[in-house]
C-alpha cells in the first residue's frame, strides 16, 4: 500500500490541453473518487496514474517514487476497467492468475491467492467458467479478483459499475466499499455518478473541464460547495438555484419572491447573486411562501414535488406525504441554516 501524490499534472494532446495542472494528495489506504461529467479529464487522469497515458507535465508519485517514466507493469498497480477487460480465452481462475503466472510465481502460491480472492468475492464455484458464461456482476467480481490477487500498492477503478443494471450497481457499490474497508488498499475510483462518489469515497475530487472544482470529504462538498458547478453536481435531486439579488429582507428572485436567508455576506445589499437551496431543505410551513404544485412524485419514504414559485420551477423533497393536487397551492419555507449564496458572475460561494 502506498500514498499517491499528483502534483501539477497536465495532459495535452497536441496543442489541446485537457488537464490543466491538477494537484491531489491521496493518503495511504484512502478511497478517493474522481467525479465529473464526461470529458472532464477524470479517466485520462486515472490512466496517467496507471501509466497508460503519457504525462505532459507535472509529477505523479506512488509511494516515494516518481513514476512519470515508469512503465505500467512496474508501477505495482491494478486496474478494473469499465468493460472489465477479462481475457475471453481464459477461465476465471486463469484470468485471476495471469499476472502471477507471468511473474513465474510458484504454483502453490498462485492457487492459494486465487482461492483466497475467489473466497472474498464469492467466485469459488465459477473458477472453471469462461467470462462469456458469467453475468455482468460476476464478470465485475472477476475483474476485481484479478486486481486483488496482485495485492498491489494502488487499486484503480475506471467507471466499474456503469455497465451494470441499477439494482446490481447498488449492490456492487456496497461490495466495493466493504472490500476496501477489509483490504485497506489505496484506491482511486473514477465515476460520473455523484451518488457512487458520495456513498463510497473518503475523499471526492470534483473535476470539470480539466481542473479540480473542489476536493474534500463527501459531506463537506454537500454542505459547503465552493461554487455553482459543485453545488449543482453534488446531491440528488440537484440543488435549486435561483437568480436574483441580495436585499435587506433576504433574497429577492427575478420573479419578485423574497426568500429568507441565513447568514449573509457583509455589505451585500443589492448585490446580484444566485440563491441555492437543496430540495430536502425546503419544508412545508403555513406561514411560508406560496407555491403552485406542478408535479407530485410519491416515492413512499418521501415525496418529491415540483412547484412553481415566482415563475421558476423548484424541486422539493418532503418526508411527509402530500395530499395536494397539481394546480393547488402549498406554502413552503427554506431551512435557513443550510441555504447557499453564490456570486452571480464568478459562481463562487459567498
Amino acid at each position: 500500500m502506498a500514498s499517491v501524490q499528483i502534483a501539477d499534472v497536465r495532459k495535452a494532446y497536441g496543442s489541446t490541453q485537457v488537464i490543466h495542472g491538477v494537484d491531489i494528495d491521496i493518503d495511504d489506504g484512502e478511497f478517493v473518487i474522481l467525479v465529473g461529467p464526461s470529458g472532464c479529464g477524470k479517466s485520462t487522469l486515472l490512466r496517467m496514474i496507471a501509466g497508460l497515458e503519457n504525462i505532459s507535465g507535472g509529477e505523479i508519485r506512488i509511494g516515494p517514487k516518481v513514476v512519470n517514466d515508469v512503465p505500467p507493469k512496474e508501477r505495482d498497480i491494478a486496474m478494473v476497467f469499465q468493460n472489465y477487460a477479462l481475457y475471453p480465452h481464459m477461465t476465471v481462475a486463469d484470468n485471476m492468475a495471469f499476472s502471477m503466472k507471468l511473474r513465474k510465481a510458484p504454483k502453490a502460491e498462485i492457487e492459494e491467492r486465487v482461492g483466497k480472492a475467489a473466497g472474498i468475492l464469492g467466485l469459488d464455484k465459477l473458477l472453471d467458467r469462461y467470462p462469456r458464461q458469467l453475468s455482468g456482476g460476476q464478470r465485475q467480481r472477476v475483474a476485481m479478483g484479478r486486481a486483488i490477487v496482485r495485492d498491489p500498492q494502488v487499486f484503480l477503478f475506471d467507471e466499474p459499475l456503469s455497465n451494470l443494471d441499477a439494482k446490481l450497481r447498488v449492490q456492487m457499490r456496497t461490495e466495493i466499499k466493504e472490500l476496501h474497508q477489509r483490504l485497506k488498499t489505496t484506491t482511486v475510483y473514477v465515476t460520473h455518478d455523484q451518488i457512487e462518489a458520495m456513498t463510497m469515497a473518503d475523499k471526492i475530487v470534483v473535476m470539470h473541464d480539466g481542473i479540480i472544482e473542489q476536493m474534500g470529504a463527501p459531506l463537506d462538498l454537500y454542505d459547503k460547495p465552493v461554487n455553482l458547478f459543485v453545488a449543482a453536481f453534488i446531491g440528488s435531486p440537484s440543488m435549486n438555484l435561483l437568480k436574483g439579488r441580495i436585499t435587506s429582507a433576504g433574497f429577492e428572485t427575478e420573479g419578485g419572491v423574497v426568500w429568507p436567508i441565513g447568514e449573509r455576506p457583509a455589505n451585500a445589499d443589492g448585490r446580484p447573486a444566485v440563491f441555492g437551496i437543496r430540495p430536502e431543505h425546503i419544508h412545508l410551513d403555513p406561514n411560508g411562501l406560496e407555491a403552485e404544485v406542478v408535479v407530485i412524485e410519491p416515492m413512499g419514504s418521501e415525496t418529491q414535488v415540483v412547484v412553481r414559485c415566482g415563475g421558476q420551477n423548484l424541486t422539493c423533497v418532503f418526508r411527509e406525504r402530500i395530499t395536494a393536487k397539481p394546480g393547488e397551492t402549498i406554502r413552503i419555507t427554506p431551512d435557513i441554516k443550510v441555504t447557499h449564496l453564490f456570486d452571480a458572475e464568478t459562481g463562487k460561494r459567498l
Binding site: 507493469k73 498497480i77 469462461y130
Partner: protein
C-alpha cells in the same frame, strides 16, 4: 359448386387459381427458389467434377472416347517419376509458401494495426499484389527472374558487387522452385495480412492495457492475448490459403511451364500438361483426382480448426 356460387366470398376463396395455390405451398416454393442455384451448381460444379472423376478411370484421349480401365491410370502414375516429383513439389510449394505468407502476413498485419500516418492508404497499397491479375504479376516475375536481365542479378553483381555471375533463377530445378515459392508468397501476403488485420481489430485495446498492467511484455502480450484471440480467424485463413496454394496453376504455368525438365511441375500444372496439350485426358484427370485426398485433408483440418472453441460459446448471451 352450387352452394359456393350462392356466396360470392366462398367462391372467391375456393376458386383460387391452382397456380396460386401451388405457389402458396411451401415445399414447392422452396424447390422453385432453390432450382436456379442448384442447376447452376449441378452444371458447373457437379458435372465437371463427376466427369473428371469418371475420366480418371478411363483411357480417354482427345478425339477418342475411352473405355473404363479401372485403376490403371493411378497404378501407372505411381511409377511415373514426373508425377512423384510433382507431388513433392506441390507439398513443398504449399508448405513453404503458406509458412512464408503467414509469417510475413501476420507481421504486416501487426504493423498495420498500429497507429500509422496515412493508414488507409497503406492498407490499400498492401492489397495491390492481390488485385493485379496473376498472369500479369507472373510476367513481371518472369522478367525479374530472367537469366540476363534480372534486376536482382543486376543489383547483386553490378551495383553491390556481392556476386561475380548472374543468377540462373529459372534454369536450375532448386532455384526455380524457390523462385516460384517467393513469387507465390508475394502474391499471397495481402490476403493473409488483410484478413488477420480484420481479426486483430476485433481485439479490444483494453485487453492489451490489462495485460500491460498485469506485467506482460510485448512478446507475452502477443503470446497470451493476440495469438489465442486470433486463432479462430487464423484457422479459417490458413485453410483457404492452403487450398488456394495447393491448387495453384497460373503462377507456375506462366513463369516456368513446369520446367526446367518438368522439375517445377505442380499436380495442377502436370494434370493440365498431360490432359490438354498432351491429349491424355484420362491420365490428366487421374492426376487431378489424386489431389482430392489432400484437399479433403485440408478441409477436415479446417472443420476441426473452425469448430468454435469453448471460450467462444457461452450460456449467457449479450
Amino acid at each position: 359448386m352450387a352452394a359456393a356460387a350462392a356466396d360470392p366470398r366462398t367462391v372467391h376463396s375456393l376458386q383460387h387459381n391452382w397456380l396460386v395455390r401451388l405457389f402458396d405451398y411451401k415445399p414447392f416454393l422452396i424447390f422453385i427458389c432453390l432450382l436456379p442455384a442448384a442447376a447452376f451448381l449441378l452444371v458447373f460444379l457437379s458435372y465437371p467434377l463427376g466427369l473428371g472423376i469418371w475420366l480418371a478411370f478411363t483411357d480417354t484421349r482427345i478425339g477418342r472416347p475411352g473405355s473404363f480401365i479401372g485403376l490403371e491410370n493411378f497404378v501407372s502414375l505411381l511409377e511415373d517419376r514426373v508425377f512423384i516429383t510433382s507431388v513433392w513439389n506441390t507439398l513443398l510449394y504449399t508448405g513453404l509458401a503458406t509458412f512464408g505468407k503467414f509469417a510475413l502476413g501476420l507481421w504486416l498485419a501487426l504493423l498495420l494495426n498500429n497507429h500509422l500516418p496515412m493508414k488507409s492508404l497503406l492498407r490499400a497499397i498492401i492489397l495491390i499484389p492481390w488485385i493485379v491479375p496473376t498472369v500479369l504479376s507472373a510476367i513481371a516475375f518472369w522478367w525479374i527472374y530472367d537469366a540476363q536481365f534480372s534486376i536482382i542479378s543486376y543489383v547483386l553483381v553490378d551495383v553491390l558487387g556481392w556476386r561475380d555471375t548472374y543468377i540462373d533463377f529459372l534454369g536450375q530445378p532448386w532455384p526455380a522452385r524457390f523462385s516460384l515459392i517467393a513469387a507465390n508468397i508475394w502474391r499471397g501476403i495481402p490476403f493473409v495480412a488483410i484478413s488477420l488485420l480484420a481479426g486483430l481489430q476485433t481485439i479490444s485495446p483494453s485487453l492489451y492495457e490489462a495485460a500491460m498492467l498485469d506485467g506482460a511484455n510485448a512478446w507475452q502480450r502477443f503470446r497470451h492475448v493476440t495469438f489465442p484471440m486470433l486463432m479462430p480467424i487464423l484457422a479459417v485463413v490458413l485453410t483457404f490459403s492452403v487450398l488456394f496454394t495447393f491448387t495453384d496453376f497460373q503462377l507456375v504455368y506462366a513463369i516456368t511451364r513446369g520446367g526446367p525438365v518438368n522439375a517445377t511441375h505442380l499436380m495442377a500444372t502436370l494434370a493440365f500438361q498431360r490432359g490438354i496439350p498432351g491429349g491424355q485426358l484420362g491420365e490428366g484427370a487421374a492426376i487431378a483426382v489424386a489431389m482430392i485426398p489432400f484437399l479433403i485433408m485440408a478441409t477436415l483440418f479446417s472443420y476441426y480448426g473452425l469448430s468454435r472453441r469453448k471460450w467462444q460459446q457461452g450460456e449467457a448471451n449479450d
